[in-house]
Point group: C2
């Protein structure tokens, strides 16, 4: 089956490094789902927001960073398990899967009256990610609080304290979102090299930080050249 | 993007008529997700079931009954609203959408040790539906009990009493599943013609029933010829 993007996601994370590893982990992270011209129609969003609307939507999107030519492997190593235990690909949300589809539940912040975009919070998507479908979140069909969730039980908790060695040039909202992401520890699993300098893109900025003794220190943040 | 089925769903509902209108509504309805040969691999399911496994999975599947040539419309008329109110397609789970992808959360009953199939309960899929992806259900990322869900708030309740004028030739489990489906009232929205005879396919059987005064009566059930 051939599927075609209806929209593109735009957010501050322009590279894979730093991406939350599941939706909802960085609830302050704002982004926009911008409809492509042929799917831009306020009627198509009627009933989604407003008084009798929905709080949340599902996004079915494409792991566009995984090359289409890459062969799928039956097992993957979830970062959650430290990156050294193999699990079946269908027991994980790994990007390296037969059809490179992602699934994320995000919060609706607002819907543009002209139908051009939906502002959302909590997406685990990279800037530029193609979106193939949007569906309303329906509690009776989608919400199972008692479901056993194997190795993914319990949300990953923020595990680093974030400190600034420089003033934040970002808005208070963006500062909060960046701190949330960094507190989750974006370093590769089991990488702990005190003093090592990491770089991360955030919106128009490049962020450099180090991690030692449970504290992440933002060393510099400057506009990309 | 081109996506290719990894599996096919097999269940007793071989036609659209009678299909539950969301997953989970007919919890007794059993089905099998049968992997296609190139995706049949027990390793790909490692960690999905068993002691440290998951209770539920997401299926991303194709509305294969909707012709690819059918143009999408910005609004649809959800059966839930009686079929006479128009809502934006992205505020509904309607099959008539730009990319004909469906999303359903089903319960895992068992996983075949040879990786050939997963037995599931509660699917709202027609027999023969292509499945494009399977992901584990993760409570912290997928479960939002407080989310407002607009016109879809509250699960549709069984609204008909089901009676048999003939003995059920089905197993007790299949009898229960059939009764669950019929109690949900499979008739088109707002159709109420006492005495009208409806036919429905269920596995190898054809079922004929009438509805009057809140009671659905199974008149005949016989093997398909």
């Amino acid at each position: 089956m051939n599927i075609t993007p209806i929209a593109d996601y735009h957010g501050p994370l322009t590279a894979k490094f730093g991406l939350p590893r599941q939706s909802g982990l960085a609830g302050s992270l704002d982004g926009r789902i911008v409809f492509r011209p042929e799917f831009r129609n306020p009627d198509a969003l009627r009933g989604l927001s407003g008084e009798d609307g929905f709080d949340r939507i599902w996004l079915i999107w494409g792991f566009s960073e995984v090359p289409e030519s890459k062969a799928w492997q039956p097992t993957v190593r979830p970062p959650r398990l430290g990156g050294n235990v193999r699990m079946g690909v269908f027991a994980t949300r790994s990007p390296f899967r037969p059809n490179r589809l992602g699934l994320s539940c995000v919060k609706i912040l607002s819907v543009a009256p002209d139908g051009s975009e939906i502002r959302v919070a909590g997406a685990d998507l990279m800037d530029g990610t193609p979106v193939y479908d949007i569906k309303p979140y329906v509690v009776y069909a989608d919400c199972f609080p008692e479901a056993a969730t194997g190795f993914a039980a319990g949300a990953p908790q923020p595990r680093l304290k974030v400190e600034w060695e420089t003033a934040s040039p970002l808005s208070p909202e963006d500062t909060a979102a960046l701190e949330e992401i960094l507190a989750l520890d974006p370093r590769p699993a089991y990488q702990d090299e005190p003093g090592k300098r990491y770089g991360m893109a955030f919106g128009a900025y490049d962020v450099a930080f180090t991690v030692a003794d449970g504290t992440l220190t933002i060393k510099t943040i400057g506009k990309k050249i």
